[in-house]
Amino acid sequence: MEPILKTINLTKTYDNHAAVNKINMSIGKGEIYGFLGPNGAGKTTAIRMMLGLVKPTSGEVEIFGEKISKNSFKAFERIGAIIETPGSYKNLTAYENLDIHRRLMGISAKSSIEETLDMVGLLEVRNRRVGKFSLGMKQRLGLARALLHQPDFLILDEPTNGLDPQGIKDIRHLLLDLVKQRDITILVSSHILSEIEQLATKIGIIHQGQLLEEMDMEQLRQKNRHYLDITVSNDQQAAFILQENLSIVDYTITELGKIRIYERMNEPMIINRTLVENGVDVAELVLNKGNLEQYFLQLTGGNAVV
């Protein structure tokens, strides 16, 4: 199936410094792609290139099969986007801001404005000037603008900036509902790991302009489960004992003499005693409390992804 978004060696260089370096990304229909990286990693620059706002030094972006440049604006009929803190016309009300957007997107139904304002929780303040809005309200208005024309693909750069915890939760539920109800595809960037973890179905980790890793969220979770590594004299015999005597079935033999167990990890002494009593020597028992945060810190060399 043709991906919704594809980047090919996407690169942006400023004064010999690569802000984005040969990024190859692919987002399929219906996916929520979490674009994760610390501040300054190159997320926003990459997103700007995807939207034709910044010209790549080299490489290409394709959205809906159309090559994106500053003059390829047809694809924007099907894209909704927020880039960093979305700006609005402060002298106008929330309703008037969306009315401008509605007209420029060529949507005839005026009712779409109130429906979208309701969706993001701004209906009651629709006639208030945006200049009097809090940062969180402006962020919601930005999201409303991105959603108003019912796009097939949403690109959201740090959409929860300035939102309180309840606001973050609301936006998360809204996005998840949108994927379920409208089958839209979402690219959401963030430097907050927990945010991406709860939302994304696929994840791309960017650091210092490079896409370090791209994988399904499920793969990532598997990779970062807690486990107990046991080094034994006979792995086949040990596996049999674990199953028969301790009813442990979630394990893998990772290499010769090494077994990785994913259950009963809080009972290393029982496991050790059972194996020894049944004639299997245990050389080492290591409990690995691997979590996503540690994983990202390893990948990004300790840079803050919180």
Binding site: L53, V54, F73, E77, A81, T85, G87, Y89, L104
Partner: protein
């Protein structure tokens, strides 16, 4: 295109620039009123139509127009960058050139409206204080001058547009307008010969209305103004349509 024009106008709703536009209309009108009232009440001689209409026209063309229209031009073109709306603005399924053209049209419309309304108010005040009918030839002459002023002020605007688009700050256009008028006043005070001062477009727009110029000076002055206007428009257009969009506002 009508959608772009309408939305550009809608964006100006409740904007503080409207107060400045109102001031541009009110100040010359008030001065005209006091001149008329002074002549009528204090000097006991009704003002003449010719003097009456020339004053507000000259005031706008020479002193008030250039900085205010520069501000207006800069506001229209730079506000998207300054207010951080440029990201969403350039993500509409329309070519950026259409937005550029739309903003130029709105600028021309506003310049025409401001100058036209001021003229109509001056006419109204004139009817209040003068006892003679407005001579037809004078009226036609003034309307023709009015159209020239609109055209000349519009030709000056790209200098401010360029400053606004390049700096992405409204203030840049305002500075350009103020510097332009100041330079024109300095050249006038210093009694700089016309053959040199026509090269300053801000001086030229004054000369062309207030005193007829020799054709050679006219060619020099108009040539300079046109060249500057076209070059500034072309650079602004190129920059507006093809430059990267960085940074954000709140």
């Amino acid at each position: 295109m009508t959608t772009i024009l309408y939305t550009e106008l809608l964006k100006c709703k409740r904007a503080s620039i409207l107060w400045i536009i109102a001031a541009v209309i009110v100040i010359p009108s008030l001065i005209s009123f006091f001149i008329g009232f002074g002549s009528w009440a204090i000097l006991d001689s009704p003002p003449k139509w010719s003097g009456f209409l020339v004053f507000s026209q000259s005031l706008i063309n020479m002193l008030i127009g250039p900085p205010v229209f520069a501000m207006l031009a800069s506001f229209l073109f730079a506000r998207e960058y300054q207010e951080g709306t440029v990201h969403s603005f350039f993500l509409y399924p329309r070519h950026r050139a259409l937005f550029f053209l739309g903003k130029l049209c709105i600028l021309l419309l506003l310049i025409t409206a401001i100058i036209g309304i001021t003229f109509l108010i001056s006419l109204g005040i004139g009817f209040m204080f003068t006892t003679t009918h407005l001579p037809y030839d004078l009226f036609i002459g003034k309307v023709w001058e009015l159209l020239k002023i609109i055209g000349l002020q519009f030709l000056l605007a790209p200098i401010a547009i360029l400053a606004g688009v390049l700096s992405r700050q409204i203030i840049a256009g305002i500075i350009v307008g103020i510097v332009g008028v100041t330079s024109s006043v300095i050249l006038m005070i210093a009694s700089t010969p016309l053959q040199y001062s026509v090269y300053n477009p801000y001086s030229f727009v004054t000369f062309i209305i207030d005193s007829p110029l020799e054709s050679s000076l006219m060619i020099r002055g108009f040539g300079t103004l046109m060249t500057l206007s076209i070059v500034c428009t072309a650079i602004s257009y190129y920059h507006y349509v093809s430059s990267d969009v960085q940074g954000s506002g709140v």
